[in-house]
Amino acid sequence: MSHALVSVKGLNVHFKEPVLKGLFLSVKKGEFVSIVGKSGVGKSTLLNAISGLLKGEGEIHAPPTIGFVFQNHSLFPWMTVKENLSFGLHENDEKKIQELMALLEMQGKENDYPTQLSGGQQQRVSLGRALATNPSLLLMDEPFSSLDGHTRLRMQEWMMNLIQKIDTTTILVTHDVDEAILLSDRIVVMKDGSIHSEHVVPFTKPRLNEIRYQQPFQELKKKIIESYD
C-alpha cells in the first residue's frame, strides 16, 4: 500500500456555524477520489482547506504544488489562452504551452480570449492552467457542472482519457454521481461535516461511457445516492 499523499485529520472549520466537524480523509498517491454530498455540506470548504486557501483547525498534510479548477470564473477574461496557461509559470515556457495545448486538444487557439471559446473549451484551458505547474495534487470543484448536458458527457469522456495519460492525484467535487463513478477509484460521501461513507469503484480503467447503463454501475449509483440522507 502506497503512502498517503493527502491526509486530513480531525479538521474543523467554523463559519457562522461549524461546517466541517472533525473530518478525516486520506488520499493515496495516484488515486482519483470524488467527493459527493448535498449542497452546503462543506465540499468546497474542504477543497479550500486542503489547498491552503482557507485555514481550519486540525492537521492537513498536502503537497506544496496544487492545481485548482473552479466551476465558474475559471479563466482570467483579460488573458489569452496562452497567457492563462502560463500564469503559474515563471516565464513564458513555449514548449510547455505547446505540450499543454496538445494535451487539451486546443492547438491553434493560443491567442483566443476565453469569451471566444465554448464552455467546454474554457474548462479544458482551466484544467490546463492547473496542470501547467506539474502539480502533485489536482483539486477540481464541480468543473463541469456549468456545462450543458451533452458537453458535460463529452468532457467526462475526455477527462477519462486524460487521467490515463497523466498520473496526478486528483480530488474531484461533483454533484453528478455518474461522473464520480466514471472517473474515480473511490467515492466519499460527505454528510454533517464529515465523511459519512466511502465506496470503492471496482470497474477497470479506462472506462467507457457505456458502462453507466450496466447493472453494477446502476447498483453502485443507487447505493451512493441512498447514503446521502
Partner: protein, 249 residues
C-alpha cells in the same frame, strides 16, 4: 451608435426641414438662423484661427482635469476596494461629496481659486473624480473570488496579483466610468468657461450671446457636441484596441 442609411436619411431630412423653415421665412432668421448661416459662422470662425485655438484650450483643460481627477479616483477606488478599513472609514465621506451636483460648486471655486486655468481644471477634476472612483471601487469589489484564489495559489508575489489580476479585473467597469467622466468633463469645461474666461468653446458661445450672434452660438454648440462625440468615439476605439476582451458597448 451605428450609422446606417436610414439614420443618415433621417438626419438629412431633419436638416432639410430646418433649412425649409428658414427658407420659407416662417421664423426670424436673426434668432433662428438656417443651417447654411450656421455653417458660414463656423467657417469664418475657423478662418479667423480662433476655432482651433478655442478647441485646443477646451480640450487641454478637459484632458488635464481628466488626468488629475481620474488618477486620484482610480487610485482611491483601488485602495478602498482592497483595504476594507479604508473603505469603511473614507467611503461615506466621498459618497456625501458625490451627492453635490458638480456644476453647483463652480461659484464657490471662483471665489476660492479665481477664474484662471487652475480653477477650471479643478472643477473638471472634481467632477470626473467621482465616476472613476466609484466605478473602480465597484469593479475591484466585484472581482470574483475565484480570480483571487487562482492568484494566491499561483503567485507568491502580491505585486503580481495586483498588476495581473486586481488591476485588469475591474477594467470593464473603468471603461464605462471613463465614458461617463468624459461626458461630465465636457459639461464642466463648458460651464466653467461661461463665467470668466478669455478662450475656449464655452467662452466663444457666451461672448456670441452678448452680441446676439445666434449663428455663432449654434456653431459653437455643434462644435462642442461633435468634440464630445469624437472624444468618446476615440476612447471607445482605443479601448477596443487595447482591451479586446472588454465588451465596450
Amino acid at each position: 451608435m451605428k450609422m446606417n442609411w436610414k439614420a443618415l436619411a433621417f438626419l438629412a431630412g431633419m436638416l432639410a426641414f430646418w433649412h425649409g423653415i428658414v427658407w420659407m421665412q416662417l421664423v426670424n432668421t436673426a434668432l433662428f438662423p438656417g443651417p447654411f448661416a450656421v455653417l458660414e459662422a463656423g467657417i469664418s470662425w475657423f478662418n479667423s484661427g480662433i476655432l482651433l485655438q478655442d478647441v485646443g484650450t477646451s480640450i487641454w483643460r478637459l484632458l488635464t482635469g481628466l488626468a488629475i481627477g481620474g488618477t486620484l479616483g482610480i487610485l482611491l477606488g483601488l485602495a478602498m476596494g482592497r483595504i476594507f478599513f479604508l473603505e469603511e472609514t473614507a467611503a461615506p465621506f466621498f459618497h456625501i461629496l458625490r451627492a453635490f451636483p458638480p456644476v453647483a460648486i463652480i461659484p464657490l471655486i471662483i471665489v476660492w481659486l479665481g477664474i484662471g486655468d487652475i480653477a477650471k481644471i479643478f472643477s473638471i477634476a472634481f467632477a470626473v473624480f467621482f465616476p472613476l472612483w466609484i466605478s473602480t471601487l465597484i469593479g475591484v469589489k466585484s472581482i470574483p473570488k475565484e480570480y483571487l484564489k487562482v492568484a494566491t495559489l499561483f503567485s507568491k508575489h502580491p505585486l503580481k496579483t495586483l498588476t495581473r489580476v486586481v488591476i485588469p479585473a475591474p477594467l470593464p467597469f473603468l471603461v464605462s466610468g471613463v465614458r461617463i467622466a468624459i461626458g461630465m468633463g465636457f459639461i464642466m469645461v463648458f460651464v466653467s468657461e461661461l463665467a470668466g474666461a478669455s478662450s475656449g468653446l464655452g467662452y466663444f458661445i457666451a461672448s456670441a450671446q452678448i452680441v446676439y450672434r445666434v449663428d455663432q452660438m449654434m456653431a459653437g454648440l455643434i462644435v462642442l457636441g461633435l468634440l464630445s462625440f469624437l472624444t468618446d468615439y476615440l476612447f471607445v476605439r482605443v479601448s477596443q484596441r487595447l482591451f479586446p476582451w472588454v465588451n465596450v458597448q
